[in-house]
């Protein structure tokens, strides 16, 4: 018996810890969507006046991205009712940099040449800081933009905080705005008051983004 010893606990533990890790580190496959809580994908796009807007320029600011297609009935619901413009004005006043992005390909619904787009913006009373043109759809795909409207929130550190629907009423009927819970406003209010975003993603609704075929 005197030859038999209980091996030192630390030795066992070390061996086991090593063994536990043996079958390999967890391989995390890339998902198509950018991850909530991770750095938002960097991009740089021209606005309708030709000025470049890089996401990196807005480090230190709250940023909202809005996918826009004026021809889409779901977008019309939010613009004809002034719902979208009111949100743009309200959060613009609070310092939020609101960028509308058009990912429609040339020839497809929602695509306009810069001049035409400026006219449309005038007509609609567009209150975003800038309307960015993404005719290749690259930035849209980077953010997994599936529908118009689709909303994204990025915090001053450049972290993606929200990606999804504007509200919880997936309908093009103007009446559906009444009593709708606005996910974007709720998430922005939480984030800007230093709280975690309680609903960081929802399924976006609306028209498909008209990517190049």
């Amino acid at each position: 018996m005197h030859r038999s010893r209980i091996p030192n606990r630390t030795i066992i533990a070390t061996v086991l810890a090593a063994a536990a890790l043996l079958p390999g580190q967890h391989a995390r496959a890339q998902s198509a969507s950018p991850s909530i809580g991770a750095p938002a994908p960097e991009f740089s796009l021209p606005d309708t006046y030709g000025a470049e807007h890089a996401l990196a320029d807005y480090r230190g600011e709250w940023v909202v991205l809005e996918w826009l297609n004026y021809g889409c009935p779901y977008v019309k619901k939010h613009y004809n009712s002034q719902n979208m413009q009111n949100l743009q004005a309200k959060y613009g006043d609070r310092g939020v940099k609101w960028l509308a992005i058009v990912s429609s390909a040339p020839g497809k619904q929602g695509y306009y040449e810069p001049d035409e787009m400026n006219e449309m913006n005038e007509q609609k009373g567009q209150k975003a800081l800038a309307v960015l043109l993404d005719p290749t759809g690259d930035v849209g795909k980077m953010y997994n933009a599936q529908t118009t409207p689709q909303m994204v929130i990025i915090d001053p550190e450049g972290t993606l905080l929200y990606n999804g629907a504007i509200d919880d009423k997936p309908s093009s009927r103007p009446a559906s705005l009444e009593g709708a819970h606005n996910y974007l406003a709720a998430a922005l209010d939480e984030a800007m008051s230093g709280e975690p975003v309680s609903v960081p993603t929802t399924k976006p609704y609306g028209c498909s983004v008209k990517y190049p075929s």
Binding site: L21, L22, G24, K108, V199
Partner: protein, 745 residues
């Protein structure tokens, strides 16, 4: 309101016309083209066609009349211009399903829309679920019983749908349908009945013969489906038409390739998690299309509701990462290490001493004993495995160590360990008629043959005993192997149990087979007596621990009952040894033995009654209440913390789990580790499995474990949990926090 009224009246007029057209038109079957060309010119409301561009909707009934109190089916008949589509209940990446806002007479109610299986509509990189050409959406209407024969009722409502080619138009139509009430059983309308028949045939079937589950491992669901045999044979040839359509929009990535394939007799479909999912659902619902026509329209579909198993961690999660071979290796190592656990070590030390004595008395006997001991261990593991399997088959959620959730079992174990300790201290010797426990090998026996037979039996029994006393302990590796085994077919479960037993018995069998090794041990002598007495104290310490567990389970009154039972046991042993020994005279000896038995029986009664006690509420009834920095675990509290994106550490523990207690005292409740949890902003929760708790058993099963301890670290956000080893050190915990949880949080 006035305008609405005008529209309604106009539509009523329209419908009357449509009804006439329907009656006079030849019967059309779905998919055989459009009605628009025929109907539209006849519709006065075509002036208002901007309300329903590129499509039309009407409400039709299957029967000509409705019977009071018996439900009937109506249908929203949507017809679309060629190339245009509308959407399923889950529209996919974009779009919106058709809906009906009913205005029904008092007492009527309408069911949900019954959706046929959709087809895939692709606009890369996006995908929609929907329909082309023509669609009949069935709805069940339930009329009230008290309707007068011969009356007419009007079902009205508004249909909203979206019609798209690539660009979309919202469409709407006012619906109306007048039905006669008749007590007679309703006759089918020959004009519409075939449409309904076809639509019913296109509904996905709910067939329990299709069993399914989904294993989630970021970022994929592996949907596993077992089709019934005849269909499996058809499908085997070609899976190219197979596609799974999820019922909810935020579960899977609709556009991702599904790659249906066979794994043996199981169809495996790979579903990528949606980038917009709020979490992993308990069940993935959807429709599996198994056959399609040339145009991609489904011709056979079945409803699927697959429970989701979330894979836990890299070492223990799925059959792909821990195969049978690795599980068996872990089981063997686990069994081997079990010998070093504090509950087993004293018993097994005695066993080795036994070898020493017998090798002196009977050369070659050691080998036979080693075999008998191994058989005892194996048999016990088989019994344990079989009991676990039987309980699992009966729907019980159990895991390793489950027997210690029973206070009676804990109490009996306490008495047993107490008896063993008394025997080692020399208070009595186990008699021949007494059950032969491990310590019984020290008795003197008269003849060699009896000796051989008895010691073989004893070796077998001590193998059983060693297994029984091992159950409170989980050795490293064992949890991984058992967790894996319990979710496998019974044969593999039993194989893992067998190897676990083999691992535990291996050192003895090896020792008993190598006389050289035994010879190298010191010769028997007085030192053995001393060692025996010393080994009594770990056993008594085990009694203290079991009593503590018993106390947590039954409260102070129960604990007093157990201590009383131990007192009576000691008294019975003393009576029996003092007057009942073989040196005592026959009449007194018999009386003493009967008395001892009676006292023992009284101890047992006391124990059974104590085990039934319930702790008074508010008492420190769980191992979790010892520390304030640990929150009480519940599925809800854990889900809330995870939703908030907080890093979370869960300690799955039980009072009867020795390794859990050691880890908590030596590692988890030390200042350094507590500070580290605080610095990294980790919420710490304790899930106490001391008593049976199906919620905890379920949570363990999700991590593919069936025993405690389990230490799960959720890094925050949507990350997979990291499982720490079952023997912890401060370094392991601190390293894990450093690696997986960024400290600036």
């Amino acid at each position: 309101m006035n305008e609405t009224y005008r529209v309604v009246t106009r539509i009523v007029a329209t419908l009357t016309v449509v009804a006439v057209v329907l009656v006079t038109a030849p019967t059309r079957l779905p998919g055989q083209g459009m009605v628009g060309e025929q109907d539209k010119p006849a519709e006065p409301s075509s002036a208002a066609s901007d309300l329903s561009p590129h499509s039309d909707a009407k409400l039709i009934a299957e029967a000509r009349s409705a019977q009071p109190g018996s439900s009937f089916t109506v249908g929203l008949h949507l017809t679309l211009e060629p190339g245009w589509h509308t959407y399923w209940k889950n529209p996919g990446d974009s779009g919106e399903p058709a809906s009906i806002t009913w205005r029904l007479p008092a007492g009527f109610s309408a069911g949900e829309i019954q959706w046929p299986a959709p087809q895939l509509i692709s606009f890369p990189p996006l995908v929609s679920y929907g329909f082309f050409d023509e669609l009949l959406l069935l709805v069940e209407i339930s009329p009230p019983p008290g309707l007068a024969n011969g009356d007419t009722v009007r079902l009205a409502g508004r249909a909203d749908w979206l019609v798209c080619i690539e660009d979309c138009f919202p469409a709407e139509a006012e619906l109306g349908l007048t039905l006669r009430i008749s007590d007679a059983s309703p006759g089918l309308d020959p004009m519409t009945a075939p449409l309904f028949e076809t639509a019913r045939a296109e509904l996905p079937v709910a067939d329990p013969a299709w069993s399914s589950f989904a294993r989630f491992k970021e970022p994929w669901y592996g949907l596993k489906i077992d089709p019934p045999d005849p269909l499996a044979a058809v499908l085997e040839a070609d899976l190219s038409d197979v596609h799974f359509f999820a019922s909810e929009g935020n579960v899977i990535d609709h556009a991702a390739e599904q790659r249906p394939d066979w794994d043996g007799e199981t169809m495996v479909i790979r579903l990528a998690r949606s980038g917009f999912s709020a979490g992993i659902p308990d069940t993935v619902h959807g429709v599996l299309v198994t056959a399609r026509d040339g145009a991609g329209a489904p011709t056979a579909a079945v409803q699927i509701s697959a429970p989701v198993i979330v894979a836990g961690n890299p070492t223990a999660d799925s059959e792909s990462s821990l195969g049978l071979g690795l599980a068996l290796l872990f089981a063997f190592l686990g069994g081997l290490l079990l010998n070093l656990m504090p509950c087993v070590f004293p018993i097994l030390s005695l066993k080795v001493l036994g070898f020493l004595e017998h090798s002196e008395q009977e050369p070659g006997g050691a080998a036979r004993q080693g075999a008998a001991f191994g058989a005892g261990v194996l048999a016990s593991f088989w019994v344990l495995g079989a009991v676990l399997l039987a309980l699992r088959a009966a729907g019980e959620s159990v895991g390793w160590g489950f027997q210690l959730q029973s206070p009676l079992f804990v109490g009996v174990m306490a008495v047993l360990f107490f008896l063993l300790a008394l025997a080692l201290l020399g208070a009595f010797e186990f008699g021949i008629s007494f059950t032969r426990f491990g310590a019984g090998e020290f008795m003197k026996v008269p003849s060699r043959t009896r000796f051989a037979r008895n010691t073989t039996t004893q070796s077998f029994v001590s193998g059983v005993l060693a297994t029984v006393v091992a159950t409170p302990c989980t050795a490293p590796f064992m949890g991984t192997a058992l967790g894996w085994a319990l979710f496998r077919p019974p044969a593999e479960t039993m194989l893992v149990f067998t190897v676990l037993g083999a691992g535990m018995a291996a050192p003895y069998i090896a020792l008993s087979l190598s006389p050289g090794l035994i010879d190298r041990l010191p010769p028997p002598g007085r030192w053995m007596e001393t060692l025996k007495q010393i080994l009594a104290f770990p056993l008594l310490a085990t009694v203290v621990w079991l009593a503590w567990v018993f106390g947590l389970q039954t409260g102070v009154n129960g604990l007093a009952g157990l201590l009383g039972a131990l007192l009576l046991t000691g008294f019975a042993v003393w009576v029996s040894a003092r007057w009942g020994g073989i040196t005592s005279k026959p009449p007194g000896r018999t009386i003493a033995r009967i008395s001892a038995l009676a006292i023992g029986a009284a101890a047992l009664v006391l124990l059974v009654r104590a085990a039934a006690a319930v702790p008074e509420p508010g008492s420190a009834s769980s191992a979790a209440s010892t520390s304030t920095s640990w929150q009480h675990w519940s599925p809800e509290s854990a889900a809330t913390a995870r939703r908030a994106g907080e890093p979370l550490f869960i300690d799955f523990t039980a009072a009867w789990c020795l390794s859990c207690q050691v880890n908590e005292r030596v590692v988890l409740n030390t200042g350094a580790v507590r500070d580290a949890f605080r610095e990294h902003g980790v919420t710490t929760m304790k899930a106490d499995w001391t008593r049976r708790d199906p919620a905890i058993t379920g949570a363990l099963a999700e991590l593919e474990r069936s025993s405690v301890p389990v230490y799960a670290l959720y890094p925050g956000g949507e990350g997979d949990p990291v499982l720490l080893p079952s023997v912890l050190t401060k370094e392991i915990v601190l390293d894990a926090l450093e690696t997986y949880v960024p400290s600036e949080r």
